[in-house]
Amino acid sequence: MDYFIVSLLNGLIYGLLLFMVSAGLTLVFGMMGILNFAHASFYMLGAYAAYALQPVIGFWWAVVVATVLVGGVGVVTERYFLRPVHKYGHAHELLLTFGLSFIIAELVKLFFGNYPVNYRVPQALSFSAFHVGPSAYPFYRLLIGLVAIAMFVLIYLLLTRTRVGIIVRAAIRRPAMAGALGHNVPVVFMAVFGVGAALAGLAGAIAGAFYTTSPNMAIELAVMMFVVVVIGGLGSLEGALLASLIIGLSTSFSVGVDVSLAQVLAYVGMGDWARGIGGLLTLKLSSLSGTIPYALMLLVLLIRPYGLMGAKE
């Protein structure tokens, strides 16, 4: 039972972390049709910015300033890099963000070196929240989850209940019409991109302290973000939340499942045959827990391509 509770909590928190990182990506895609390959790089920039600022202004201020800085980088990216290539089509924008992700990763390596850096959770926050059986549950993990939930609520309210939100949603659906009505659509796009980047930066600043902060953290998270966004539905915030939770929980629980397909087939008497074939059939699910998200993504794409909660085009 303890195992179940801890796995559940871990899965939820990991899912919420994934959501924090992918929220910006799905928003940007829904709004501008750009699949931003540099989004994971913004995550990494947030972590490094917070690391660089922490000794100067303390942890909390470092997180805030890092978020704003990365948002600024996002705004500059949209204005000077993406807007000029907008007319060449989505493929071009995507490739440009791809090139940008390379440049950002190399610049980080240039200034901060190739090794992981010493970005750690401040002493004041590294205590345990409660105990589940013999294991302690660290408070910082809960903090990550809380920040993610707060982020979701804020953005949701912003989009659905405020005037700014209505303008943004109108600019998504009918940019030409919104422009004709007098709204500055390019500025809206720039702001949305900036907010998306800032969200990724916030996720990096918060999570980088708990997980490792190294120049490879963008690569590690990049593909997983796309998996979340695709499963959830490109453009849907609720879908991203749902998909992140599914991936987080499945990754968490599958670690405990030491069962392979051969063992399952043993129940129908084909165990020896399966073991004889070897390969895929004898792989334990626990060894493949990192691979499950890709299988899920493929499944969703084939059966329901617009994702769990995406809109049919």
Binding site: F29, L95, G99, F102, E106, L280, Y294, P305
Partner: protein, 431 residues
């Protein structure tokens, strides 16, 4: 136009055939890599540029061809299933079959979803391959040896070069001919408007799958050539890196032209080969190059060459040489400035430098670069790249102005709308 193009093509082929006689061993090795990358890029561009389906997992088919070829080379106790010069056929067949299956599923969707499916297939294969050591040899990969055939030992690189050259030329020729077939034309239609194709009566799904399979077939040949070249295959081939590389190469070369991706792949391959041994920041340069090409040369290098050729035809060299000179000068200055700045920063922030500053008493020791020593605290050190970059940008602006003026003053051409009265007004004001 066609005859001139054929003449240039013939000259290029002759140069490629004669190359090993004058090139060093290292350059021959680089040449083999460039040829393989060119073929892979052209095969990829068939799907991406001609049929408009952006694929993120094409390395899967390259890898499938490579592994199948290694297995074929190891077959029958090491003697090989086919004589060495015919081995790429194994890659072709594998690429075709795997492509038919993968393509059937992938082409059910279009646009971003198609790209995501190919990404998922590639990532799944990359994740599962190391576990299937029977097929993929675990993380050490599979190793094999080229067997002599038809009196040739294939023991040295020159013979491998000619084999690769022959196959690449053959496949490029076949790809070009494919474009002329009805299916090749249908591929263009798939890029433009699938909805309309359906109304014409074409089965879009079947057509897409077939085009996908042709593209993967040639990717498989490229993979086979790679396996023959390095006599091994490793599952890291399935990594997103290789798919990304071929994407980069194709777009830098220009996907709207047939040989654009080949040019892009050859250039980037050579760039990586040469620059990677000169500096550890070469990935940064590659990224910068890519972003600059995307921003300022949307049709790629081939597009640039085409635009220059068109301009030459319209204006003649006499009017344009000044602009050329200025552009070249600007490029040289910008490259020098950027390289200097990046290398200086890289050394300044490196661990070695930090350690060096701790050893000696000086907190900011001089940095040796390009044969001279630069003091990091001196203004001159930073002024140099700034000056180079500013001068480069200024020259670039002047070059652009000269170019526009030359184009505007040239005799108007039938197919170019740029030299209407509006164009003349604009460029007249800027001089």
């Amino acid at each position: 136009m066609n005859r001139r193009f054929l003449l240039v093509g013939l000259l290029v082929v002759i140069a490629l055939v004669a190359a090993p006689l004058v090139m060093s061993q290292s350059l021959i090795n680089a040449g083999i890599q460039m040829l393989i990358a060119s073929l892979f890029a052209c095969a990829f561009s068939l799907l991406c540029g001609q049929a408009g389906m952006l694929s993120f997992g094409h390395s899967a088919f390259f890898g499938a061809g490579a592994f199948a070829t290694v297995h074929a080379m190891d077959a029958m106790g090491g003697a090989g299933l086919l004589p060495t010069p015919f081995m790429p056929l194994v890659g072709a067949v594998t690429g075709l079959l795997v492509g038919l299956v993968a393509g059937w599923f992938a082409t059910k969707r279009t646009g971003v979803y198609f790209a995501m499916i190919t990404l998922a297939i590639g990532e799944l294969l990359y994740a599962l391959a190391p576990h299937l050591s029977g097929w993929f040899g675990g993380e050490a990969g599979l190793s094999t040896m080229r067997m002599p055939a038809f009196g040739l030992s294939f023991a040295d690189n020159v013979q491998v070069y000619y084999l690769t050259l022959a196959w690449v030329l053959l496949c490029l020729g076949l790809l070009y001919l494919f474009m002329r077939t009805p299916l090749g034309r249908v591929a263009l239609g798939l890029r433009e408007n699938t909805h309309r194709m359906r109304f014409f009566g074409y089965n879009v799904h079947v057509a897409s799958t077939l085009v996908f399979a042709i593209s993967t077939m040639f990717s498989g040949v490229a993979g086979a050539l790679q396996a023959i070249n390095i006599e091994s295959a490793n599952y890291v081939i399935f990594n997103l890196d290789l798919s990304a590389q071929v994407l980069l190469n194709s777009y830098i070369g220009g996907v709207t032209y047939f040989l654009g991706p080949a040019v892009g792949a050859a250039l980037m391959s050579f760039f990586g080969y040469v620059v990677s041994d000169l500096t550890t920041s070469w990935l940064l340069y590659q990224g910068l190059l890519f972003v600059l090409v995307m921003l300022f040369m949307p049709r790629g290098i081939a597009g640039l060459v085409h635009a220059v050729a068109q301009a030459l035809r319209r204006c003649g060299f006499a009017r344009l040489w000044r602009a050329f000179a200025l552009y070249l000068g600007a490029t040289a200055l910008l490259v020098a400035g950027t390289t200097f700045l990046v290398e200086l920063l890289q050394r300044l922030f490196s661990q070695d430098y930090r350690a060096l500053s701790q050893i000696g008493g000086n907190a900011w020791p001089d940095i040796p670069l390009f044969g001279a020593s630069w003091a990091p605290l001196s203004v001159l050190t930073w002024l140099l790249p700034v000056l180079l970059l500013t001068a480069g940008i200024w020259l670039l602006a002047r070059a652009a102005r000269h170019w526009r003026r030359a184009l505007a003053l040239a005799a108007p051409d039938d197919d170019s709308p740029a030299t209407t009265g509006g164009g003349r007004l604009v460029s007249g004001a800027s001089s």
